[in-house]
Amino acid sequence: MRLSKSWIIAQKDFKTFRRKKNVLYTLLIVPIMISILIPVVLLATHIPVDHLTYLLPAFTFFYVLLAGVVPTTIASYTIVGEKVEKTLEPLLAAPVTDGEILLGKAISAFLPSILAILGGSVLFMVLSDVATFKSLGYYFFPNLNTAVTLFMMVPLAVLMSVEWNVVVSGRVTDVRVAQQLGGLAAIPFVLIYVLGELNFVQLNVTNNLLIISGILALVDVLLFTVTRRTFQREEILTKWK
């Protein structure tokens, strides 16, 4: 496995994103909107302090939800896009291995997604601190739980979403369908979020967050083996429809 080859492929995709501005916009718009809207609402409404300490971690969990959705735009574009434009065949004829291509595609979906989400979360934290400092008397962010959420759960969730999208991409020919199916990666996180709201899982307890991360890591490994099997040149050229 030569990382340099994967990086060449990822760089090519980045160049494409720069040309295709709408890919960039769809990538950025949701994280930025959420990151601005929530603090604005917080500022406009007067939420009691004990509610705030419960709400803010829940809002932070939104970024895990985002991690499930955001990579879909890019992954479906780069993988189904290559399939539709039939650009995979010459790529597969080049001296690169399937694994190197797969990793390149994963990087090109992973990096922009994680940057958009973490960038959004920084914006969110700063604005929320500004909005809630008066009522709380201290800056809520940053804190340990947020760090676990953003630096463990979010990357693992992005990875899961990327892998899921690769699997989906092998089975559809339409970028739109790929996006809809790809978005399903967010469902487990919606579930966790709802369970959190219903008080089945406390999302402001560090150990719970670590356990969820552990499960995610496991799912990532499992999905990776499926991905690896989906992304084989013979499979791509003869079965990918």
Partner: protein, 307 residues
């Protein structure tokens, strides 16, 4: 340079390529000629290590097709233009070539030089910064050729490079292929265009799932298509017709002209003419004609249909 022995590919219970054996020498243009669905693309994909073979052996420059370790070496040696050009339409011509140059490990300076050289050779240099999505079909095909040449490969696989091109663009591409031959590259050309095969190829294989014939265009015309004797009579009388029928020949009659397909006209002509004279026929002229590649091809493909 390219060798295949009993190469076979099955998709489930459909046999796409059956027991293909062929050999292409260094510097030769080999044409794989066959109708749609004949297995041309499948063959090239196997030789380029893109899909596995079901049975048989193949090698490129001595490297074993199907051996995982050799596959990367083979890919470095070959340039491949697939039937769908597969260019990145959102990127410029230069970006497309640069990307592939990097993938093939062409060093920076050399890459720049190669890009300029191939784009100039193909008349695309002025368009190097233009998005490929705006290119015409002919330009895309040329750019795909340029991409296949970016690492200066000794072996090229071209899958129907002139299909869907207008005559002028086709000619440019064909001239360019001849140019590549002058550079001593070995070229494996898939085509369903007979004229193209005859004009470009040193050797032709006619494929229809299995190989139907193999040889130089000349050999195919003589051996497969067979030759014919054309007899022009003053008047084709019933007696003459009767006499010819009795010889049980493969013939067609158009007005007063009789075309008789023969394996060896030189040997058989005198007997035929004797029969004509005895029946009172008055011969204006006789000629031996060679069949065309088209005759050879149609004969093989039709035979297939009848079977």
């Amino acid at each position: 340079m390219i060798d295949a022995e009993n190469l076979t590919k099955k998709f489930g219970n459909l046999t796409a390529v059956d027991n293909l054996t062929l050999h292409v020498d260094e510097g030769e243009i080999f044409g794989l000629l066959g109708p749609n669905g004949a297995g041309k693309t499948t063959t090239v994909r196997m030789l380029c290590c893109l899909i596995s073979k079901t049975e048989g052996k193949a090698s490129i420059a001595g490297y074993d097709v199907g051996n995982e370790a050799d596959a990367l070496k083979i890919r470095k040696l070959i340039g491949f233009v697939p039937d769908n050009v597969g260019l990145y339409e959102a990127l410029s011509a230069n970006d497309n070539l640069d990307f592939y140059g990097k993938l093939y490990d062409v060093p920076d300076a050399k890459r720049k030089e190669n890009i300029e050289r191939v784009l100039k050779m193909l008349d695309l240099w002025e368009k190097k910064d233009v998005m490929v999505g705006t290119f015409s079909k002919g330009m895309k095909q040329k750019l795909a050729l340029a991409r296949a040449l970016i690492h200066d490969p000794p072996v090229l696989f071209l899958d129907e490079p002139t299909a869907n091109l207008d005559p002028e663009a086709s000619k440019t591409v064909r001239d360019f292929i001849l140019e590549l031959k002058k550079q001593k590259r070995t070229i494996f050309l898939n085509t369903h265009n007979l004229d193209e095969a005859r004009r470009l190829c040193d050797k032709i294989g006619i494929l229809n799932t299995s190989l139907r014939a193999l040889g130089s265009p000349q050999e195919l015309e003589n051996n497969v298509g067979g030759r014919a004797t054309v007899i022009q009579l003053e008047q084709l009388t019933d007696a003459v017709q009767e006499a010819l029928r009795n010889l049980r020949l493969d013939m067609t009659i158009i007005e007063n002209r009789v075309t008789i397909r023969l394996a060896n006209p030189e040997k058989e002509n005198s007997a035929i003419l004797d029969a004509v004279f005895r029946a009172g026929g008055r011969v204006q002229s006789t000629a031996i004609v060679g069949s065309t590649l088209e005759d050879a091809y149609l004969k093989l493909v039709r035979k297939e249909a009848i079977e």
